[in-house]
Symmetry: C2
Subunit: 240 residues, 2 copies
């Protein structure tokens, strides 16, 4: 059975303007690979209502699971929750369970649960909450979309809350062979090698170091025995 | 007149598997902002023919300019050039101008222009070449799509070749005010401030440092005088 598929939707003008370098994509990609879920596509869109709605609908329809990152804080530009509700025609308002979480949190710290902070309790009617052990304001899951914060520490905590509930496939294993020859020299034999192992994925990632060309050949698959056999073959092919 | 719009298409299993952290998106975002071109969307797709074709067509239709990154080397998994040709129904084969560039390059270094390396001379019929001062193998422009290498040093060199030929708008300027208060405290007045300056974009990016919460308020716009006025206002609003 093929692994379940996933997509990610990153929401944020700050990434598209180059102000911030996204860190969540790389993190999620690694976690999903370990869990045996294939990340198939990532989209980054701006803080634009229609863009978020369209992307959420397209990715939700095309993949088993979607993760979003960003736009669920208390400020005027945090519109993700309302957009996801609109994408799935689910009513949204301040929800009592989320409000109670925030009230307890701000009571403890002696801060005011003002109107802005209360925005973070806006949760679609049919959603289930995602635990936020870092700063309390919850994420949520609606249909197959997990809506999470953009701040990396909170994003990572929410991924940890969500992942154990998902059914993964076999974890994708990978082995790397570094070849100190130009990619153009190894491409021919490497293509033949890849054809011999159609059940494995073979990638070639060139690098340049100290003025010399080399490449990391990465072989990925779910069967450890096949992977071992392939790597033995590969070392034979590229033995100096 | 609004600024021209752009999208980016990143091609690569190595990014979706978490093996490599993409660096080109952040670089391109910064360069486009400086040039007055609005990066509106980024998609990352795997080394899958139909996924690349579909994304290229969708982005090309929706935005003024598209930049792709990755998948134009000599190995079997480098399929971007053929996919872009297919997306625009343009014939593709080894092209004499590209072959001549590669031949001269490999003659000089005493290397063989073998079948694998010759793949890098596969260029769509109607495309114009993009100069690659780093390793010679050219990128190309077909319709409004600029096809570039994924290796960051080459990607950056190709961006430098392409950008001066594009017509940008007014560069987007930005100013940042750091406020040492939680985002929930400043969200109310910040929302009102944003409404006062509908011609500027106002973002709020929370951080946590040494156990205390703060936020960077970023104001963006193309008119320096308006930006200066807004920042003066903003400093007044959040003066301790």
């Amino acid at each position: 059975m093929p692994n379940p598929t996933a997509a990610m939707l990153v929401i944020g003008d700050e990434i598209l303007s180059g102000r911030t370098r996204d860190a969540n994509m790389h993190y999620l990609a690694g976690e999903l690979t370990k869990a045996g879920i294939d990340l198939k596509e990532v989209r980054v869109v701006s803080d634009d209502r229609q863009a978020i709605i369209d992307a959420a609908k397209a990715l939700s329809a095309a993949y088993d699971t979607v993760f979003t990152s960003g736009g669920i804080g208390p400020t005027h530009d945090d519109i993700t929750a309302d957009c996801i509700a609109a994408a799935f025609n689910d009513p949204i308002d301040v929800r009592e369970d989320a409000r109670a979480l925030l009230q307890a949190h701000y009571d403890k710290s002696g801060q005011d649960l003002n109107a802005a902070r209360l925005r973070m309790a806006r949760i679609p009617n049919s959603a289930t909450l995602i635990d936020n052990p870092v700063s309390t304001a919850p994420g949520f899951t609606l249909c197959n979309v997990h809506v999470m914060a953009g701040v990396p520490s909170i994003f990572q905590a929410m991924v940890a809350s969500v992942l154990p509930k998902l059914t993964g496939g076999a974890p994708l294993l990978s082995e790397t062979l570094r070849v100190d020859r130009g990619e153009g020299d190894i491409a021919g034999p490497l293509g033949a090698f890849a054809e011999t192992y159609p059940d494995l994925s073979v990638g070639c990632y060139p690098f340049q170091k100290d003025g010399r060309f080399g490449a990391n050949v990465v072989v990925r698959g779910t069967d450890p025995a096949r992977l071992e056999l392939a790597m033995k073959d590969l070392r034979g092919i590229f033995a100096a």
